[in-house]
Symmetry: C2
Subunit: 292 residues, 2 copies
C-alpha cells in the first residue's frame, strides 16, 4: 500500500502537490491549521511540526510509506533572513528520524534555487556550487545534507527538489507575479530595474505535478524544479502587463538593481526531465493566460 | 573582555584546543563529564549539550564572546554511520541560536575532511565539492550551512574548520595510529592494503593550536586543518613501525582496499596558512618521535 504524507499541504506549493497526488494512493496532509484546500479525499491532520512530540506522534499514527516535506517558513519577504529557517531545519531532522523509524521508504524534500552559488550558466544539480546568500538558502542546504545523512542511516530512498521561482494560483499577494498583476490592473506605473536579470519561473501547478512525479519515482539525489525556459525579467514583466492590458506601465531602468542580485538564476532541467513519467511545465505566457 | 567557551573540551581535539587557549582570555569548557584534562585555569561546566535546556542555560550563564564548538559524536568506528550525528546537528543549531541571542561575536565550528567529495587533488575549501559519503560527513556539512545561516542572521563572525586526520596524545586506542603503535610494539605482523592511498595526518596539538589561532582571528569561512604534507599511507605506517622497532611487520598488499575508499584525501593549506598568526604544523616523523 502507498500511504503518502504531505507536510505544508495548505501552503502555496503544498496544495498543488496534494492536487497532483490525488490518485496516487492513500493521501494524508498535515499542517498547523488544516483547511479545505487541495484535493478532495485527503485525510487532514492538525499538528505543529515545530513541536518535536507532535511530529513523532503524527508520523507514528500515519506510518507513511512516502513523505513529501513541503512545510517551511514562508512569510513573504521576511522568510529569507528569518531565524525560523533554523527551527524548520531542526523540525526537519526530527521528521526524518521519525519517518525512518516508522519504516518509511521514500522521502522528497522541497529545497530552493537559493541554495546555489551565482553562476553565469544554468544551475546543474551536482555541478553548480552550493553557496547560499540567505538564512533561508543555508537552512535548506543544511536540510539537504540532513536528508542524505538520514537516508544513508535508515536506508530509505530520498530526493531533494530545488524549486526555482513558482507563480500561479494561491501565490501570496505580496509576491512578485501577483503584485505586478494587481498593479497593472490598477493602471499603476511601476519603476523597475533594467530587467535584464535572467530568471526561471515555474507555474506552481506544474511544479506540484513535477514534485508528485519525483516523489512517486525512485530517482535519488537533487533535482531542479523549474521551467528550463529562463527569460529576462523584463520579458516576464511585459508578458504579465500584456495579459492584463497594462502595456507600457513598467518603467525599466528607473531603479538600480538590488546589491548582490545575481544576473542569472536558471535551471538546467536535464536531470529532472530524465525521470520516467516526469511531466513538462507549460510556457510562461500560456500559463499566464490560463491563470487569468 | 574575551570569554571563550570550548565545547567537547574533554574530547581528543577539544583538550588540545583548551591547552592552546590557556592564555587567550577567560576560558570555559563544557562537557557531560568534565574531567581535569587540558589546561589549568579552565572554568569547567557540566552539561549535556544534547539537552536543549542545558545548552541555553550554560550559554546564558557564561555569555561567551568566543565559542569553539568541538563537541560531537566521536565513538571510534561507529561514529561515521551513527544517527547521533543528526542529534548533534540539532544541538548545534540550538547552540548557535543561544550564542547569537547572548551577544556572542565569534564562532568556530569543527568540521571534517569527510565533507569533501573524493578528488584527485588536494581539497580547496571553496572549490572542492561538498559530497560526503557518511552520515557523519553529511551532518557536519549540514552544520556548516547552519553556522553560516545563524552568523548571517545574528551578525556574528564565523569560521568552519575541516580537520583532516588527527593523531597524537589522547587519541582513542582503537584509532589507526595508536592501534598501529600497539601492534608493532607487540611484534604483530599486520596484513594491510597496498598503502598507496594519500592521506593528510595532523598532530592533534598542532591542530589544537591552529584551531585556537583561527578562533582568535576574524577570518570568516571554511578552513582546512591538516599538515599540508599529505603522504602515502604506506609511508606513514613505515614511519610508525620504524619509531617503535617494528620494521617489516606491515604486510602491504595482503588485503584489498575497502570499497569506496578515496585514493586521495589531502588538504590544500593555502587559505589557512594565510590567517595572521597561524602556527605551522610539524612533520609527521618528528611529531611521532616527540610523542613516543
Amino acid at each position: 500500500v502507498t500511504r503518502i504524507l504531505v507536510t505544508g499541504g495548505s501552503g502555496f506549493l503544498g496544495r498543488h502537490c496534494l492536487a497532483a497526488l490525488a490518485d496516487a494512493g492513500e493521501l494524508h496532509a498535515v499542517s498547523r491549521h488544516p483547511g479545505s484546500e487541495g484535493a478532495t479525499g485527503v485525510v487532514r491532520h492538525a499538528a505543529d511540526l515545530l513541536d518535536d512530540g507532535a511530529i513523532r506522534s503524527v508520523i507514528a499514527k500515519i506510518r507513511p510509506t512516502h513523505l513529501l516535506h513541503a512545510a517551511w517558513e514562508a512569510t513573504p519577504v521576511s522568510y529569507a533572513s528569518s531565524l525560523e529557517n533554523l527551527r524548520w531545519l531542526k523540525a526537519g531532522v526530527t521528521l526524518l528520524h521519525a519517518f525512518g523509524e516508522a519504516g518509511g521508504n521514500r522521502f522528497l524534500g522541497v529545497g530552493t534555487s537559493a541554495e546555489y552559488a551565482p553562476s553565469g550558466t544554468p544551475c546543474v544539480e551536482d555541478e553548480t556550487h552550493i553557496r547560499p546568500s540567505t538564512v533561508y538558502g543555508h537552512a535548506k542546504a543544511a536540510m539537504h545534507q540532513a536528508v542524505q545523512g538520514a537516508a544513508r542511516h535508515h536506508g530509505f530512498s530520498a530526493a531533494w527538489a530545488r524549486v526555482f521561482l513558482p507563480y500561479g494560483p494561491g501565490d501570496p499577494p505580496q509576491r512578485l507575479v501577483p503584485s505586478l498583476i494587481a498593479a497593472f490592473r490598477a493602471g499603476q506605473r511601476l519603476p523597475m530595474s533594467d530587467g535584464g536579470q535572467i530568471r526561471d519561473f515555474v507555474y506552481a501547478p506544474d511544479a506540484g505535478a513535477m514534485l508528485a512525479a519525483l516523489l512517486l519515482s525512485d530517482a535519488a539525489g537533487a533535482f531542479n524544479i523549474g521551467s528550463g525556459a529562463a527569460m529576462p525579467l523584463r520579458q516576464a514583466v511585459e508578458a504579465i502587463a500584456a495579459s492584463v492590458g497594462g502595456e507600457g506601465l513598467a518603467e525599466f531602468g528607473a531603479l538600480p538593481r538590488r546589491p548582490g542580485e545575481p544576473q542569472m538564476l536558471a535551471a538546467d532541467m536535464t536531470r529532472t526531465f530524465a525521470v520516467p513519467g516526469m511531466p513538462r511545465p507549460g510556457a510562461f505566457a500560456r500559463r499566464l493566460r490560463e491563470m487569468l
